[in-house]
Amino acid sequence: MSAQIFPRNANAIVWVSILGLVLLVGGIVAALVGLYLSPWFTDVGVPKAQPVPFSHKHHVDQLMIDCRYCHATVERAAHAGFPSTDTCMSCHSQVWTNSPLLQPVRDSYRTGDPVVWRRIYDLPDFVYFNHSVHVAKGIGCASCHGRIDQQQLTAKAQPLFMGWCLGCHRNPEDNVRPRDEVFNMRFDPLTLPLEERVKLVESYQIPTDGRLTNCYTCHR
């Protein structure tokens, strides 16, 4: 009679350890996915330190300055652009001239060196994006940048995943608004009835034949 190599509960140990292994691997994968979607990785809602603590809440919500006053090329070019020192100084040469927070702007005006803003929204270089087409086709700033007029310090409202771009390119009727509401932060496109939005998509000639989800649209 040969010796018994395995104890009686060996089968149970095997099953438990297989289950444990599966749970462990699943847990690790879930944790990685969670980390990938979390603000720690995507920076959503996390403001960055800027040379001047510029507040959109102050300037857009309270002073009601139009986006184009500072992001002047947004209707004409791919990039919305950052305001030049001259733009800040058109007001701040006369209002709040002594604020210590504005010292970097005044220094920049004197020396001619630019104020270096840190980018909040930054797509990978292999993605092509263009503001002017979105603005011209009735997609509001708020659809992509959220309620930036309520932010004391600018932070991301979107992780800018590819699936998010595609979601809107598949169903533009969920986000389209009349052209004169593009810069209006308070306007919600979903307050319009669906038929009206579908009509807007038609009248703005937004292609619904799948051209917008073609890889070449964004990876060119």
């Binding site: 309270q62 002073l63 139009d66 184009r68 007001c91 040469s93 209002v95 990978p124 270089d125 292999f126």
Partner: protein, 198 residues
């Protein structure tokens, strides 16, 4: 003594089958995310002032942006401020002018041009009314001139408002001025009735 060269037989090769997986890992780098090219507004370590977007060299003009004889680009005809709009006056032009005015001028000059915009109010900043007699009678080219070059405490808006749009704003300012000095007799009988005047 010379060792006989080891023969790589099939089963030994299988043991190294994981090696190609390393190639997959080696492909995981991020240089396509930040490619070695400049994007607008990027910081450059090459230029001393740190700008990747280069300002034009001094005393150069972009092709098509300069023509001393063009009223559209200079606002002047034979050295005098243009008294006629060099573009066609249409309802679209005025509508376009309104969006520009509301974005660029209204913060200081106010929606109606009274000089009581929100910056003037909260600033505080002294802003003159656009409805003074002097500004109502001045040649329309003067508004183009003010937007292009600024005036005293008001900065230039030339780098944000292209010349065609400046004329749209000038035309809209004229419309605003008219709106504050409209004559009852210009209205149709129907409109007068609505207002309750005879």
């Amino acid at each position: 003594m010379v060792q006989p060269a080891r023969k790589l037989n099939g089963s030994r090769l299988v043991r190294f089958a994981w090696l190609p997986l390393c190639l997959v890992l080696a492909a995981c780098h991020v240089d396509m995310y930040d490619q070695p090219r400049y994007q607008p507004n990027q910081v450059s370590t090459f230029f001393r002032d740190g700008r990747a977007m280069r300002p034009p060299v001094e005393n150069t003009v972009a092709i098509g942006s300069f023509d001393p004889d063009s009223a559209l680009l200079t606002g002047k005809v034979n050295g005098e401020l243009a008294s006629e709009l060099p573009v066609e006056l249409t309802a679209e032009l005025l509508e376009h002018g309104r969006t520009r005015y509301d974005a660029y001028c209204a913060p200081c000059h106010g929606i109606a041009g009274d000089g009581n915009g929100v910056i003037a109010y909260r600033g505080p900043l002294q802003v003159p009314s656009l409805h003074q007699d002097r500004l109502r009678t001045v040649a329309i080219g003067y508004f183009f001139e003010v937007i292009t070059n600024g005036v005293n405490r008001m900065y230039s808006y030339a780098n944000r408002i292209p010349p065609e749009d400046r004329w749209a704003v000038a035309a809209y300012v004229r419309a605003l001025q008219l709106s504050q000095y409209a004559d009852v007799n210009d209205l149709s009988a129907e409109e007068r009735q609505q207002l309750g005047v005879k």
